[in-house]
Subunit: 342 residues, 2 copies
């Protein structure tokens, strides 16, 4: 990406092993993330940067120190790399790994590509648990969501400590919001109120477990949620947007002692947290960049068993040559989530 | 209080039973709260308002619906009243009780008085578990802290989910901060770093369980805490001040995936919560107005058994006639916590 709206497909040298802890992985499926739309809308023109951070693929080569994966393995790559051994990884915060990082910077490429170098391969890559040739398109789609989108939704529900019997409100009907609905359902939420206004999306949300849909926003949206909850509000609000109106919506529909769990990357730095908004009612604010690696091992099993089908969020597929069209489709909301097939 | 610095002692009619759920309690001990200093410093001059919300006393009369306490009972009154039966009370958030409220407003008096009307007496008052005549001054002091200050510190540690083995940083060496140290120690924190610069106070903090004291503030204070934690930061930060520099200190010393638990009443509404401060490192922000009623039954036992002596935070006692001097002593930091003896 060279600036807002300026997505180009370029020939670059094939990635190679640089560190003995690296692997090179041939990309089988990648995709466009809602967070990719932020630079797509506002990045200043300048030097290009590699894009994409969600990927499943087949290991092509490994460095001399890599022991847990080997060439030919079909793997899932979380959207950040991490050693899985440092203090913070052991505490489940792989996105803060002392030796980890994000793709697309510091000499590490992006996932919207034919191949990628994965640093810290032992700590990062997780075997898909099935041979590539045995996986159909639906399964590939669901495995791909474990790289980011589904497990980001799961992170919201996990950090929000969603428990059986609770009322959960999900703010946002994008692919992460719908994933959060599915995760809240998995964790036993009794009632899941999805705030969103795109019928095709909220319909999928209902299939994922939403019991109510609120299309209204602002004061009306708050009033609707309060009506649905006997004026008490939701135990947990999962915020999957990242803009200030979604944050405000969240603290206005959460109940006293409740939790707001954010996974939409905040497009603001300052926000209300004082007596009227959070403190006076003991509302907890949690969430952050999802350490999907922490949840991956368990989630692979749930996908392979068919317990969950999070890959249903993909509604379009483009080739790598057409990736610019994939951005356009998501930006215009014509597509919910676009898969990229090299 | 009639305005900043304007504390007067006045004769008013004795409180009486108004609702059948009321009790009237004769005050045995009350005190001045750190939060009382906010109006003491900044309240506009105008109509007077009754002050004080921390109290132990003896029941003098009860309304017709009151069944759990009777005249003559020695009781502890939490700093808010609550029915202990509504949805939010059952969820442990008594400070958001649907039929509850704060003292000193809506026709309910304050605790810096000879007697008080306590609404929702069944839900609010807790028997002290000992006869008044059997309690010495030290025990009275500790029981009084269960009305607010100790259990507010405890709330910070509880909401911060302090666990054995953790590193906890406490910001603030006031009576609530020291109470938070004691509570973190009770909950098994391995290391407790107390940020404060008043030697008499931090010495008591060490007796309460602080393993390290950091007198520096700002950048230097942050650097000292990071040094003490191998550059990793604290698992939990208990913020017992309420001003913005304390909040900033908190997010700068908390580790990735850690928790900031606030009980200092925020003197700000907006604060940094975006990617650089909280979101990028999965830092949770929790805490609020302490629902001390939720913790009172357990805490009474720990005080009576001598397991904890939180009453040590009191270092001065004044009579009711001298309550203005009590405010002055706390405002000037000559006193840590002032008891009021009617």
């Amino acid at each position: 990406m060279y600036g807002a709206g300026d997505v180009r497909v370029e020939e670059v040298p094939d990635p190679t092993i640089v560190e003995p802890t690296d692997a090179v992985v041939r990309v089988v499926r990648a995709c466009v993330c809602g967070s990719d739309l932020h630079p797509y809308r506002s990045m200043p023109a300048g030097r290009g940067r590699p894009m994409g951070h969600e990927m499943i693929g087949v290991v092509d080569a490994v460095g001399g120190d890599v022991t847990t994966v080997a060439p030919g393995d079909f793997v899932i790559a979380p959207f950040t790399y991490s050693d899985n051994t440092c203090t913070f990884c052991r505490e489940g915060v792989h996105t803060s790994c002392k030796h980890g990082g994000y793709y697309g910077s510091n000499g590490v490429g992006g996932a919207q590509a034919e191949a990628m170098r994965i640093p810290q391969a032992d700590g990062t890559l997780v075997k898909a648990g099935i041979a590539l040739e045995d996986a159909d398109d639906a399964l590939l789609a669901s495995l791909l969501t474990l790289s980011d989108v589904y497990l980001t939704g799961y992170h919201a529900a996990h950090m929000g400590r969603v428990r059986p019997g609770q009322i959960v409100t999900v703010v946002g009907d994008g692919a992460v919001g719908l994933s959060a609905v599915l995760a809240a359902h998995e964790l036993g939420a009794e009632r899941i109120i999805l705030m969103g206004r795109h019928l095709a999306r909220t319909d999928l949300g209902r299939e994922f477990g939403a019991t109510d849909v609120v299309a209204e926003r602002g004061d009306e949206g708050v009033a609707r949620v309060m009506d649905l909850t006997d004026g008490e509000g939701a135990h947990v609000v999962l915020e999957a947007v990242g803009h200030m109106p979604a944050y405000e919506q969240s603290y206005r529909v959460v109940r006293p002692g409740g939790v707001i769990s954010r996974v939409g990357v905040p497009q603001y730095e300052e926000a209300p947290v004082g007596f009227p908004s959070l403190f006076g009612q003991n509302v907890t604010l949690t969430g952050g960049v999802a350490p999907v690696r922490a949840y991956l091992d368990d989630a692979v099993g749930r996908v392979l068993s068919g317990a969950i089908n999070p890959g249903r969020v993909f509604d379009r597929t483009v080739t790598l040559d057409d990736v610019a069209e994939g951005y356009r489709l998501m930006d215009s909301r014509e597509a919910l989530k676009v898969m990229v097939k090299p």
